[in-house]
Structures are given as structure tokens and as C-alpha cells.
Symmetry: C2
Subunit: 334 residues, 2 copies
């Protein structure tokens, strides 16, 4: 689809800014661009591709004549304004969790289930960052041998909670290094020099947090496999913008490491960093700002002669493949 008139909702946020970068980098085609944000950010100037844009206040009337809107302003904004956009004839690619589990809304990772995108009824949803990064690393192996169970522990960056959280991590680190009390507003606990269980809401009935349940349910929807067992533990660590994940897979069939490495290397959007000799594997500082998901530490369980229990570690930029890039890729396949 050539979006004649394109809108970015939440243009001043961490993901919104990355969407602009991705559009520029990929020469995404459009004739006119409209930047929308809350009243608080309206009036801000953004210089982009040689043009000065004034951020406009998002209202239900913002979408007249807009062909495509990329929403990235949180779930409540998407719920409030997404249907208005669709009514105005706009196709919405939504980065929030608002519509992800709606059976009418395709949930798409373009390298994995592009065919689902065709079934949209006006809204397409971008999956959660941890889900995308995990599935990019797991899907090439899943296609080869099948997967029965995924046990995953995340090392999630501040960026998942937005630009203010990234700023807070920096201010906390400065305060702590100066022997002062770190400010905590974006997060419930200091993230600098710390690790804590993911700050999303908890489900008291099962002890999981929302981020973990997203990883399970969204993966089921994307893979069309509700019986896939996924055991997630989502954890924040003091990194700025790339998530890492430690993954244990129980395969349906015995596997071969060389075949797995080849499949991962050939899969679009995945890179293998698995240098045992130099102890060099995917890490947040090295993948920040990069488009692909990096996979390494590929190995069988110690003593697993059947080669059915595989371990791996992956890392991807939360703002790019985890959010902005995947959203723009969805727009590209429309």
C-alpha cells in the first residue's frame, strides 16, 4: 500500500521518535505526514526529512483523509481514538496492547505470519516487544523441529516503559553514584544497579504479571498454536533500550545445531552471534540501534543425548524490532 497520507499518533514518545527514524531509513513512501500527540505535546516542532512539522493535538477529527495511522501512545489512547480512525477510513497499525487479543485484529510479525495481515478489518496490532524478540529467535527452530515447551527469562530494558523511564534510569544511576537517593517515578523501584520483577500489573489469581501473560497469549495467536507451553519470567534490568532473553526449548523432534545455526542465519531479521572461542554472544549494548534480533549460546542440555532440549540467548532493540520497526514492516506488507 502506498500511504498517501500518513499519521503518527504519539509522535513525541520514545517509540514515535523511532518510527520516524525507521520511516526515513527505509524510505517509507507517503505524500503527506501528520504528527499527532496529546494536547501537552501539541505545538512542538519536529524536523524530519527536510521539513518542519508542528505536532498537532490528537482528536477524533484528526483522521479525515488519513490513509494509514501508526499508533504508539499507549492502550487507552488506542482504545479511544483507534475506532474513530477506522470510521474515517484510516488503516491503523497499533503498537499498544489494546487490540492485540481481539479476534478481529491480526497480530503480526511480518517474518512469521504475514498472511494474517491480509485479514484485517481496519486495525492491525503490533505484538509486545518481548514476544516479538522471543519469536524471532524461536520461530526458525520451531519450523525445523516443532517446540513443545518454552521456558524464558527476560532481561528487559527501561525503554519498554517509555522515554521518561530511560531518563529515570540515567538520573538514578547519577544519584546513586553520588551517594544520593535515586528518584523513582516511572518505576516502583530503582532500576539502576538493580533487577526487579516486571512492573506491569499482576494477576493475583495466578501470580503472573501482564507482560508474561502477553508473551504466552500473543505467541499462541501469532503461531496459531494454543497448546504451546510457555513459562515466562519477565524481569527489568538496568539497560536502556535492548531486551535480552534466556530461552530453554523442549523440541518435538531431535535437532542438529549446525542446521539450527544455518536456519537462524538465513531467517530474515535474525543474526547469529555465537562465538564460543571469544565468549562473544548477543548483548544489549552491542545490539542497541540495530534492526535485527541476535541469537547465540546455542547448546543442548548437558547430557542430553537425544538433542531435544535446546538452550539459547537472544537480544534485540526494544524500540526497533520490539516496536517501531515491526510496526513499519506491518505497514509495508499491507
Amino acid at each position: 500500500m502506498k500511504a498517501r497520507k500518513l499519521a503518527i499518533v504519539g509522535a513525541t514518545g520514545a517509540v514515535g521518535q523511532e518510527i520516524l527514524n525507521v520511516l526515513e531509513k527505509r524510505s517509507f513512501p507517503y505524500d503527506e505526514l501528520v504528527l499527532l500527540a496529546s494536547a501537552r505535546s501539541a505545538g512542538k516542532k519536529i524536523h524530519f526529512r527536510g521539513t518542519d512539522y508542528t505536532v498537532q493535538e490528537l482528536t477524533k477529527d484528526s483522521f479525515h483523509g488519513i490513509d494509514l495511522a501508526l499508533f504508539s501512545a499507549g492502550g487507552s489512547i488506542s482504545k479511544e481514538f483507534g475506532p474513530a480512525a477506522v470510521s474515517a477510513g484510516t488503516i491503523v497499525v497499533d503498537n499498544s496492547s489494546a487490540f492485540r487479543m481481539d479476534p478481529e485484529v491480526p497480530l503480526v510479525v511480518p517474518e512469521i505470519n504475514p498472511e494474517d495481515a491480509k485479514k484485517h478489518k481496519g486495525i492491525l496490532a503490533n505484538p509486545n516487544c518481548s514476544t516479538i524478540i522471543m519469536l524471532m529467535a524461536v520461530f526458525p527452530i520451531y519450523k525445523l523441529y516443532g517446540v513443545r515447551r518454552v521456558v524464558v527469562s527476560t532481561y528487559q530494558a527501561a525503554s519498554g516503559a517509555g522515554a521518561a523511564a530511560m531518563q529515570e534510569l540515567e538520573e538514578q544511576a547519577k544519584a546513586m553514584l553520588a551517594g544520593q537517593t535515586p528518584p523513582t517515578e516511572a518505576f516502583p523501584y530503582p532500576l539502576a544497579f538493580n533487577v526487579f520483577s516486571h512492573n506491569s500489573s499482576m494477576y493475583p489469581e495466578n501470580g503472573y504479571n501482564q507482560e508474561e501473560v502477553k508473551m504466552v497469549k500473543e505467541s499462541h495467536k501469532i503461531l496459531h498454536r494454543e497448546d504451546l507451553k510457555i513459562s515466562p519470567t519477565c524481569v527489568r534490568v538496568g539497560t536502556f533500550r535492548a531486551h535480552a532473553e534466556s530461552i530453554h526449548l523442549e523440541l518435538e523432534q531431535s535437532g542438529d545445531l549446525d542446521t539450527i545455526r544455518k536456519a537462524l542465519s538465513e531467517f530474515p531479521g535474525v543474526q547469529v552471534t555465537d562465538n564460543v572461542e571469544k565468549n562473544h554472544f548477543p548483548m544489549p549494548l552491542e545490539v542497541s540501534g540495530l534492526d535485527d534480533v541476535y541469537v547465540g549460546r546455542l547448546r543442548w542440555d548437558l547430557g542430553d543425548t537425544e538433542k531435544r532440549n535446546l538452550q539459547l540467548f537472544c537480544c534485540g532493540d526494544q524500540l526497533l524490532k520490539g516496536a517501531a520497526l515491526n510496526a513499519v514492516q506491518i505497514a509495508e506488507i499491507l
Copy 2:
């Protein structure tokens, strides 16, 4: 055993310093204390329990008349000087990996296998920090229901690599916050605002690092259960001195969460921090400087009606229960 004459080998290191703190806090009985370290640190003054000590150079003649020596100066020092100490009639509690897998040397977590300590032939080994912290969280559950498989991903602090590594993390953070290149000497990559696969040597034949193999083999030895499946992934994160671990257990029998919480709360050296309502669980900043291992996030796999697949998260001070405290506890049970 009342150690009349006690020696600390590696008294100026990160663990050595904590051993002194632990001895003081627990009023460990001795008549005379000798502080030993490398020639580089010899001559340093340490004020302890109202007395000024001069650190003496470690030589093979250092152990005449020493009843008990706590070694914490790395594996090569232990290998070189441990046997000399034993020849001089000294009982050695060694914090390095030098003798841990020696069948003649008991490997002891006093809350778990105190009876093994009695079989010593002069040397007792203190397990690896990640092993101790994992087993403290897992053992009470293991005793209740049996465990078939452990999948564990660690979030390990700088302190495991010594005082210089803790200092480096601080300097790296300062440099990065000032937009400068972070110094990397203690670690191969910057740890500040990063996460990387554990920096211990790799086994090219299986893709594991030494830290991970320690967690497997040491657990087998401590539990006397060589068939227990353990799938470890050891990762460094930018924290100073407490390790965290995300653990998935496949139990041999169906379990009950209230019974598990009760068993953990009643186990010496373990505390339960599992406040789902407040999203408050064990975290490095809160457990740093504390003796116990903190356990939380106790929950079954989503959809696990059999209650056989348990998830949990634990956190413990690497320098205390992970090293100095456990070593002093071993000395106490002798």
C-alpha cells in the same frame, strides 16, 4: 571446634573483607587471628574488632600453629597453598573452585548437607555462589516433592569477579553517563547498562561456560543426585553484589503453593518475599548486605492443572551467603 588460631587467606579481597565482617557479626570464637595475602597486599593495616592487624605475605610456612584457615584468594592460590596448610595440621575451608569436585573434599551448604562436612580430610570446599543461592531456594521444595529438572537463568552481580570488578562497574557507569568510553579490564565487555553471558571460560565441546557447569556438577554433589537435570544460563548484569536467579522446576509430584511457602519460610537462611498485590519480590538492591536468600514469584505454569511445573525467583548477597557467610558457617559446624 574452637579455632584457637585462625587465618584468613586473601584478607584484602572482596570476600576476605566480608569474612571479617561475618566473623565479627557472629562473634566467631578464636584466640588469635592472622591475615594473609599476596606479597602485593602484605604490610597493609586492617583494623578489626579493636585490634590493628598487619597483613602478612602468604607463604608455605604461614600455617605453623594455625588451626583453621579460610581461603578466599582464587583457585591457583588454593591449589598452591591449601595442601601446605593441611600438612601443617590446619583445617582449610576453601572458597575457590580448586577442590570442589575432588571426591575427598566435602562440598557443603550447612543448611543442606551438614553431615558431609564430617567426612573431611583437612579441606572443605565452599560451593560457587550461584549454586548456593539456587540450592537454598530449591532445596526446601526438593525435600517436599522431589525435582526432576531445573531450568535456571541467572542475573549475576559484579562482585562475583572481585572488588576490582565492582570498582570497574562504578567507573564504567560514570564514564558512560559522561559520554566517555567505559574502561574494561576486569570484564571483557562493559557491564554498566549492559548484560552479557558469564565471563568464565567456555567449554567448546558443549557450549557451556565454567560457571554453568559448576552449578550442575556442584548441585549433583551437594544433593548426592547425579541424575538431576539442570539447565543453567549464567549471565552478568550491572548490579554490585547480589545475584538473582529465575528458576523453573519440574517436580516429581504435584505440589501445593501454601505448603511450599511454609516450607521456604521455615527453612533456616531463607525468607519469602512474595507480595503479588504490591508487585514486591526479591531484588538485588534490597538484599545486598543481608544474610538470607530471598524467594518469591512462586507460581505454577499457566494452565498447569497438575501443579508439577513451578516457577520462582530468588536473590541473595553474593559476598555473604554466596561466599563469606557460607564459609564461616562451614567453620562453625566443624
